[in-house]
Symmetry: C2
Subunit: 466 residues, 2 copies
């Protein structure tokens, strides 16, 4: 994994922009070192590349104002929500201005009868779900972190519920965007479907702040299901667990979540969350539906799992037991870190066709062992998406090099199996070398779109493309 280079800084432009923004935003503009560092990348091993200043914006118009200043001086702008992205998305390799939208945290409108809502980009998914609960609605996308909706849209996030409810691509109806020249546009109407021109909504979702800055998101919502049931099932091997997942998908069972934890992760969560799960590969499941429907789904799953040697299968519909079970999954990241205190977890994020899941997960586990790396695996298995989190002692240069080699090998393997180097984290800085290996000449088309919409390259430079 190539470390991100520092790009050429436009010092004169930056100095001029800082002066104007200070005047325009007063106390809501900061050039303090700690504020700037907090707005660059902090959560992975990618080094921190802070911006020169941070604006705390309160409206789309203010975002547009900042962009206009930066456009006039050809200065980079980097949107910032919660900073929970994992591939260096919020770094400022050429300096510039971070636009923090976390204060834009209003749920503007909930149309319960249309199952949609409009939110400002700084609303987090948990805040949104708290807001929606008493209307019997929820927003299903759950990437783990309490990310902002704007950031989730920008990285095309997904997570544990995607197998049933899709990703951000499927759940964003339209976005309001500030363009590179400071115009404010809306990409689509509120209709559930449309064939009106190019799908700018989907073009913006996953564009990582490089084509525009998202200032409002219209989202599809779901009714809270009548019944929710959770279950876990242990398997003798990782392959048996994966084959069960493949059977579930092929059967068409509408599981809401189907998560894979390898034996090492189960051991970690047992320790961290005080559980007594058998320390073999585990599937965690959630079923959504009617009272009768979730029972039927759970029974069908049980029958499928049995064919592949699943044991200890138990389903529960009580909220308390369900929460306890899923806590293990939510704690997995911290539990894994606790396996090697002081180490960093290097996130990986490949996604392969479901028929290749057992092969890919098995190969990843074997490769980590062969390379003398500790890389516990969790997966949104129903999508063929899994994360081998390499626990790395950053002081051990040789180990860091092996981890880099593993990440590179993993991405290439996924691509060779017809998959992708990123199922949900995005390209950012870290995955840039792999984009062309995966998509070849299509990257030239992406670059042409980027050039057309941001000719001066001020929108989040140094991301997606090398």
């Amino acid at each position: 994994m190539a470390q991100p280079e520092a790009l050429t800084r436009n010092e004169d432009g930056i100095a001029a922009a800082l002066g104007v923004l200070k005047q325009q935003f007063g106390e809501r503009f900061s050039t303090g070192a700690s504020i700037c560092e907090q707005h660059a990348h902090t959560t992975t091993w990618i080094p921190n590349q802070p911006p020169d200043g941070v604006v705390f914006a309160h409206s789309a118009q203010e975002v547009a104002d900042v962009v206009k200043v930066c456009a006039a001086h050809k200065v980079p702008v980097i949107p910032f929500g919660t900073g929970t992205s994992l591939e260096g998305h919020t770094n400022a390799p050429a300096g510039g201005i971070s636009i923090d939208v976390s204060h834009m945290d209003k749920v503007v409108e909930v149309n319960a009868s249309d199952l949609d809502c409009r939110v400002q980009p700084g609303v987090t998914r948990m805040a949104l779900n708290t807001h929606l609960r008493d209307q019997g609605l929820f927003f299903p996308i759950d990437p783990g972190a309490d990310a902002s909706i704007g950031g989730m849209a920008a990285t095309r996030a997904s997570g544990t519920n995607a197998v049933r409810y899709g990703t951000m691509k499927d759940n964003v109806i339209s976005v309001e965007v500030v363009t590179a020249n400071g115009e404010i546009i809306r990409t689509a109407s509120r209709a559930r479907k449309s064939s009106a021109g190019y799908d700018l909504t989907r073009l913006m979702v996953g564009s990582e702040g490089t084509l525009g800055i998202i200032t409002e998101v219209t989202l599809r919502l779901q009714g809270i299901p009548e019944a929710i049931s959770a279950a876990s099932c242990s398997f003798p091997t990782i392959e048996a667990a994966c084959e069960t997942v493949m059977a579930v998908i092929q059967y068409g069972l509408p599981v809401a979540r189907i998560e894979l934890l390898d034996a090492l992760v189960v051991k970690a969560v047992n320790g961290y969350s005080k559980l007594t799960l058998p320390e073999t590969p585990l599937l965690l499941l959630e079923f959504h539906g009617s009272d009768a429907g979730v029972v039927e789904q759970a029974e069908t799953f049980g029958a499928l799992a049995e064919e592949f040697g699943g044991t200890g299968y138990a389903a529960t519909t009580t909220a308390e037991e369900r929460t306890k079970l899923w806590q293990a999954r939510h704690d997995a990241y911290w539990a894994m870190l606790a396996l090697r205190p002081g180490c960093k977890a290097v996130a990986t994020d490949v996604c392969v066709p479901i028929s290749k899941l057992a092969e890919a997960v098995g190969a990843a586990a074997a490769k980590a062992l062969e390379m003398d790396l500790i890389a516990p695996i969790v997966g949104h298995a129903g999508d063929g998406n899994f994360h081998a989190s390499v626990l790395v002692d950053m002081q051990d240069v040789a180990e860091v090099a092996r981890a880099e080699a593993f990440v590179s090998w993993l991405n290439d393997m996924a691509i060779a199996l017809g998959g992708t180097c990123t199922g949900e984290h995005g390209i950012g800085q870290g995955k840039r070398p792999y984009l062309r290996r995966e998509l070849g000449g299509a990257v030239d088309m992406m670059m042409a779109v980027k050039q057309a919409l941001d000719p001066d390259g001020i929108l989040n430079p140094g991301k997606i493309f090398i």
Copy 2:
């Protein structure tokens, strides 16, 4: 509705391209008047604007070869599948070359275990479903016509099943595309989800041949449900039927189809299909699921419908009765035409937020009456999408003018209600005046993308943009 203008023709370039293509393609290249007319627009009131020649391509490489010739001479290329589009998509207002892909009709690969397949663009949806049936799979998108998969992708088609299975946007995993300079690219891997760069797949889906020519499509498939049940229910008023649909969506009932027919359409299909349905507004439904699941869904629907005065509700799981019931829906277009023999049906295609459906449909019916027009209404009601098909005597100049005024009023009403001027037909030539009314400055962003990917404007000119 403005009639499409003839655009400036590049006579020298066209003459040169015709010469080269004749040499390259021999008998698979035609400049015959009848062949050319068949490859321009035939199914609506938009006048036929034939291309100068038609190439019957057999491979992506051949499509690329044609595009390279046309690019060298700056000559328009217009992709053609089955010609079932409704807004002038296949017209050649500046002349040029139609690339007929109907011979590219191979199902390249079916990955049953991944629920996906790769098809050439000329495969029709019915041919695909015939191919898939013995593997227990189906492709759910059903726009009515037996359209080609390439054309359905290009217009972002949907139809009766979209309420459950989404539109082409949701069911295309990736496309292979020939770009404006004759390169062949693939937009995405075969993974079920990805965050790898811009979503070029969704950019191509719905781009109506103006950004590239689709030469292969990778599709999501569905397992044929264990059980399918069909039902019909009559309502005292169109508002009552729409309110039932709204309740169904808000309840989260996973109906596979929920189609609205107004009283006039029911009368038409009774006559055409020899049925005896009560001549009041009707909902036709289909439920997909397990044996127990479809019974539960049908019961839930019945309870909801009763609240809004639904009568004559009957569900059936036998294939024969189901086919008979849905035949009425499939015949609706021909049945409506039979209401006024010799007239053309002017298709409309608005889509509004579901909470506005009753209001929009009621207003459309009242407006048609007020304007002395016959405009039976059918709707993919679960999406808020409906079609008022104006039956027009094309010899009656005043009536044609009234129909045009109605279409314009309808589009503006849908936009004012937060909806779109096209739910599934696309912009083509006919809807161009409404795109900017709906999306404002976003159209400039679309035009910037178009300019970047097709600087000489050779890909299907005169469509989408004015």
